[in-house]
């Protein structure tokens, strides 16, 4: 009777023997989990629940599977277990003996697989048991209501840990089945576990380099880490979503099927070779060549950026690519053939094949064969489009979505998706303009201020089409389409204070931005914490917000004041524009919104003035001794020019500070109070043309309330200048741009 092979058969005797032989894997692994996770809790049993003790952060990171020691164990233990359990495959003697015993190949594969899994999971289960016993209410900080050491969280930890270790183990088993020796098994066990995300990341690097508008940054982490449970667990403390879990399960089943099949097909005469399957040899060789050539190509490209290159455009990149192919293809051949003697016709053939494949890939991306760059969806076929940078151009936290949305999970942030047809059409028009005028502004050079802009079209039954560009600030400022979108009710309604998730802040602070950035904010800081006043102020801010135009939104002149609003009870997410003093708070639900009060916000300013909150919100002219304005042209200053300068201050500086950066630049000191008042009124926050702008430093009179404090911080550099004037000069620049240059500056610098 012909024997029947069962793909699901196991040998109890073999499993028992494996557990008996390799129990040390479980024991050592458990010691690792215990010493790093359970023991610290045991050592502090009588006070680990005390929020001030700090144990909470360790427990939380551990239960979130983001605890470094456990991360190492989750990766190393399954790989080592697979190498040990399947070690018999890698020598002729052991593979002969084992396969001569009365087992089918399926039994051998399945039994060793299961044995290894038991050895890997057992310590996790025991550790989970101990954590369940130790679980007690624990809080991160005084007053917090979130218990971070519950039994539910421990169960979530064990579930995630089992999934993570299972996936690492299965990948390592596949690596072992295709390997011919233990060293290669170990190496491929680690490499295969990062291969998919690594390949994805390298491909994204190519797309980012060649494809205009490609946006890999936002989704890169999400997609790359999501490919493997191990990486996803490190990247996110959320449980795996059902979609992700399904993908992982399907992937693991596929791995199992492939490994089992490969084991049955494996030729045992190849035990001891580096790799057992011819196809795998080619694949590994080409992968080594791919990663190596990419490394060389991007490295040569960085040489170009450092100015050492004699070639333009992408030429250096391609030179590096070809060098990389040549070097790493042969290295790959040496690795897979386990021999340095690879300089033969066979390798030449593979060199030719691989070069063809590699160049086809790179050139097709470079030349954009798929039409990626020019693709703009038909606005009528789009469900919506998001343009998250529209609000961010104010560079404050005013438009952070965290403050304006109902949240479902801690990590989800939903930005505004424009759905009104006029807005979608306007954005698409702007998008087309960005593409069509690309050549013009790329030739403009890097001196002009730019802004990044990303947009994402949501399409029915299609993935979102996302693009990211860096465009001149002038294009954004002059855009009729963006003005229309910003001033639309769809945008204004979304970010209205009436749409706040938490309706009222606990307090509002207002201060002068310059003093805030030079750590002098306490001299101008005003706090509004009365409920009635807060409501009134919010109403005024809302009025000004509704009236604000696109031009006012983009206005780079110094704001009248900066405000901070403190909201409690929000999800613990990182803000793009945090108010630094408060993000370090122990209460993770406290989030502070920063915003600018513009000089055009008449309602708010009136309210502040009426209530007396405007005092010291502006720098007083009488506190300033001088504002020294310099003209920056981006040109290096020679020693002769420094010596020839007829500015007494510059000569003074070069005598005492020969390397002083500011020496030799054209400059003028404005001491007239009227001039000072004009400059204080009209200065801007940043330059818009880095090759031609003016910047100033403010020298405060020593009699001003904060002068000495400045001196402690900044005074030494300007010592000689200040000695002449009896001032304290703050090393923090204010800017004046050509498009709105005060006449007094223009007159002096003609």
């Amino acid at each position: 009777m012909k024997s029947r092979e069962s793909y699901f058969s196991f040998s109890g005797a073999l499993i028992r023997e494996n557990l008996k032989r390799f129990w040390a894997i479980s024991v050592l692994s458990f010691i690792g989990y215990f010493l790093s996770g359970v023991l610290p809790i045991l050592f502090s049993l009588n006070r680990y629940q005390d929020p001030n003790y700090g144990m909470g952060y360790m427990v939380r990171s551990m239960l979130n599977n983001q605890y470094f020691p456990h991360g190492v164990l989750h990766l190393v233990v399954p790989i080592v277990a697979s190498v040990i359990l399947y070690r018999y495959m890698h020598s002729s003697g052991s593979s002969t003996m084992i396969h001569g015993l009365p087992f089918t190949r399926s039994q051998l594969f399945n039994s060793n697989l299961l044995s290894g899994l038991i050895l890997v999971w057992l310590p996790l289960l025991v550790t989970a048991g101990l954590l369940l016993l130790l679980a007690r209410p624990m809080f991160l900080y005084e007053g917090s209501t979130e218990d971070i050491f519950t039994k539910v969280l421990v169960f979530q930890w064990i579930w995630k840990s089992l999934v993570v270790t299972l996936s690492v183990y299965l990948v390592a088993v596949l690596a072992g089945v295709v390997s011919g020796n233990g060293v290669m098994h170990m190496f491929l066990g680690f490499w295969f576990n990062g291969l998919l995300p690594g390949l994805y990341a390298v491909c994204v690097a190519y797309f980012g380099k060649f494809l205009y508008g490609f946006d890999g940054a936002g989704q890169l982490m999400e997609i790359a880490t999501g490919m493997m449970p191990y990486l996803k667990a490190l990247q996110s403390n959320e449980p795996f979503s059902s979609g992700l879990m399904s993908y992982y399960l399907i992937g693991m089943v596929a791995l199992l099927v492939v490994s089992s099949y490969a084991y049955r097909q494996r030729a045992w005469e190849k035990a001891g070779d580096s790799l057992v399957f011819q196809g795998v040899k080619i694949m590994i060789c080409y992968l080594i060549a791919f990663f190596g050539m990419s490394l060389m190509a991007f490295y040569f490209d960085t040489i170009r950026w450092s100015g050492a290159s004699f070639l333009d455009g992408h030429a250096m990149f391609y030179v590096g690519l070809l060098v990389g192919i040549l070097v790493f293809l042969y290295i790959g051949r040496m690795v897979v053939l386990k021999s340095p003697r690879v300089f033969n016709k066979g390798s030449l053939k593979h060199l030719a094949i691989y070069t063809l494949i590699a160049l086809t890939f790179v050139v097709s991306v470079d030349m954009d064969f798929t039409g990626f760059e020019k693709r703009v969806p038909n606005p009528q076929k789009v469900e919506g489009v998001s343009l998250p940078d529209l609000g961010r151009m104010e560079r404050t936290g005013r438009y952070e979505d965290l403050f304006f949305q109902p949240f479902e999970t801690e990590n989800e942030t939903h930005g505004l998706v424009f759905q009104e047809p006029e807005n979608v059409e306007a954005i698409a028009q702007f998008h087309r303009r960005v593409i069509s005028e690309r050549a013009a502004y790329e030739n403009q050079g890097s001196s002009y201020q730019t802004h990044s802009l990303s947009l994402s079209y949501q399409r029915k039954n299609f993935w979102d089409l996302t693009r990211s560009y860096v465009v001149p600030y002038s294009m954004i400022r002059d855009s009729v389409q963006l003005k229309k979108v910003f001033e639309s009710s769809e945008f204004k309604d979304r970010y209205s204070f009436q749409s706040l998730t938490v309706k009222e802040p606990r307090w509002i602070k207002a201060y002068n931005l310059f003093l805030y950035q030079t750590t002098m904010d306490q001299y101008s800081m005003k706090t509004i914490d009365g409920r009635v006043e807060i409501r009134e102020l919010m109403e005024k801010l809302e009025q000004d917000y509704r009236e604000r135009t696109w031009e006012q939104h983009l206005d780079t002149s110094a704001p009248y004041a900066q405000m901070e609003m403190a909201f409690y009870g929000l999800p613990n997410q990182t803000l793009s524009y945090p108010a630094y003093a408060y993000e370090a708070s122990m209460d993770p639900t406290l989030k502070v919104m920063t915003l600018h009060v513009r000089k055009s916000d008449r309602h708010t300013i009136s309210w502040l003035e009426e209530r007396g909150y405007d005092e010291n919100l502006s720098i007083k002219t009488e506190d300033v001794g001088c504002i020294t304005v310099f003209h920056e042209t981006g040109q290096p200053v020679s020693v002769d020019e420094i010596a020839a300068s007829n500015m007494a201050v510059a000569k003074q500086w070069t005598k005492e500070y020969p390397d002083a950066y500011l020496s030799g630049k054209a400059q003028f000191c404005f001491e007239n109070p009227e001039d000072i008042a004009i400059l204080l009124e009209e200065y801007e926050m940043e330059p818009d043309n880095y090759q031609d702008y003016y910047f100033g430093v403010i020298s405060f009179k020593k009699s001003s309330p904060y002068a000495n404090r400045f001196y402690e911080h900044y005074g030494s550099f300007y010592q000689s200048m200040d000695a002449m004037r009896d001032t304290i000069t703050v090393d923090y620049y204010i800017y004046f741009n050509n498009h709105s240059l005060p006449e007094i500056i223009r007159a002096e610098f003609q």
């Binding site: 023997e17 032989r21 002729s92 002969t96 009365p102 039994q107």
Partner: protein, 300 residues
């Protein structure tokens, strides 16, 4: 019965076996001989189900061997390159074998350990190579196999142990009709043990015969005739594989039945007539006519 039918196997373009046929009768001891690299171990690994041939079949009692657990439970295999679980003693290995071989005989295991004088608690890795081989024999024979496959088993064993091992094997063949396949390149040893012989060269089976049959068909004769006697006509009716004159004595290797050789030559009225037994080495050399240098290399 072990049947190998048109077995072909290549390794990276090298043809290791080429349409090889082999038959091992039940209850016999079959000697598989050949020079180094002839393909003996490769054949054995197919028979033990370790390799799968590119073409052809290997069967035991009509069942395919490859991946057949039931067949393997009745098969014992002593390879040339031994392997034991790390850190295990003979006792522990025995326990493992007991769990996977249904016919395991613990009494035999214990008696063999005693007979061979090994320590069942000592780590096998600390044994000498010869002792490890003994350990392997003990384990394998204790599984009471119906088929015993031995790949160059005698290397490393001293003459006393060698004799002991063969005694066990022959006893099992006699009592249980165990079928034995032994591979070796030592014809002298095979001659005393085997019932039938197969000789492999370059992956092909060159000769496969019962030893007795071989011996009954080929004879070494020393004859002397009067100087003027022409014996060519007499020899024409016989299949003379080799003729050599040593002085006045003719040395003849003849492939015919014994009676026929005697009848023909005695009619020629020889002065001297001696029929001598051939060694296995000589049989093969003269059977192949010396044409195959590989076979000539078998001589020790």
């Amino acid at each position: 019965m072990i049947t190998v039918n048109q077995l072909t196997k290549s390794f990276d373009g090298f043809q290791a076996l080429s349409r090889l046929d082999m038959n091992v009768k039940k209850g016999s001891i079959y000697g598989l001989v050949g020079t180094n690299g002839a393909g003996k171990t490769t054949v054995i690994k197919h028979i033990t189900g370790i390799y799968q041939g590119d073409q052809g079949q290997v069967q035991m009692d009509g069942e395919l061997v490859y991946d057949n657990k039931k067949i393997k439970e009745r098969m014992g295999y002593v390879p040339d390159d031994l392997y034991f679980f790390g850190g295990y003693g003979l006792g522990e290995m025995g326990k493992f074998y007991e769990g996977i071989y249904p016919n395991w005989s613990q009494p035999r295991f214990l008696s063999m350990i005693q007979r061979f004088g090994l320590d069942s608690r000592q780590k096998i890795s600390s044994f000498s190579k010869g002792m490890q081989k003994q350990a392997m024999f003990i384990l394998t024979l204790s599984t009471m196999p119906d088929y015993l496959i031995l790949d160059e088993p005698i290397d490393g064993l001293d003459p006393i142990i060698r004799k002991l091992v063969w005694k066990y094997i022959i006893d099992d063949v006699a009592e249980r009709e165990m079928t034995v396949l032994v591979s070796s390149h030592n014809l002298r040893e095979m001659e005393n043990i085997c019932d039938s012989i197969g000789i492999i060269s370059n992956g092909k089976m060159m000769i496969e015969r019962d030893l007795d049959e071989l011996r009954s068909d080929i004879h070494k004769v020393q004859v002397a005739f009067p100087a003027e006697k022409d014996i060519a006509s007499f020899l024409a009716s016989l299949q003379v594989l080799h003729r050599e004159k040593r002085g006045s004595v003719e040395l003849l290797i003849i492939r015919n039945r014994k009676e026929e050789v005697e009848n023909v030559l005695r009619k020629a009225q020889p002065l001297v007539f001696d029929m001598l037994p051939l060694t296995l080495e000589e049989i093969f050399i003269y059977e192949l006519g010396g044409a195959d240098d590989e076979i000539q290399g078998i001589i020790f």
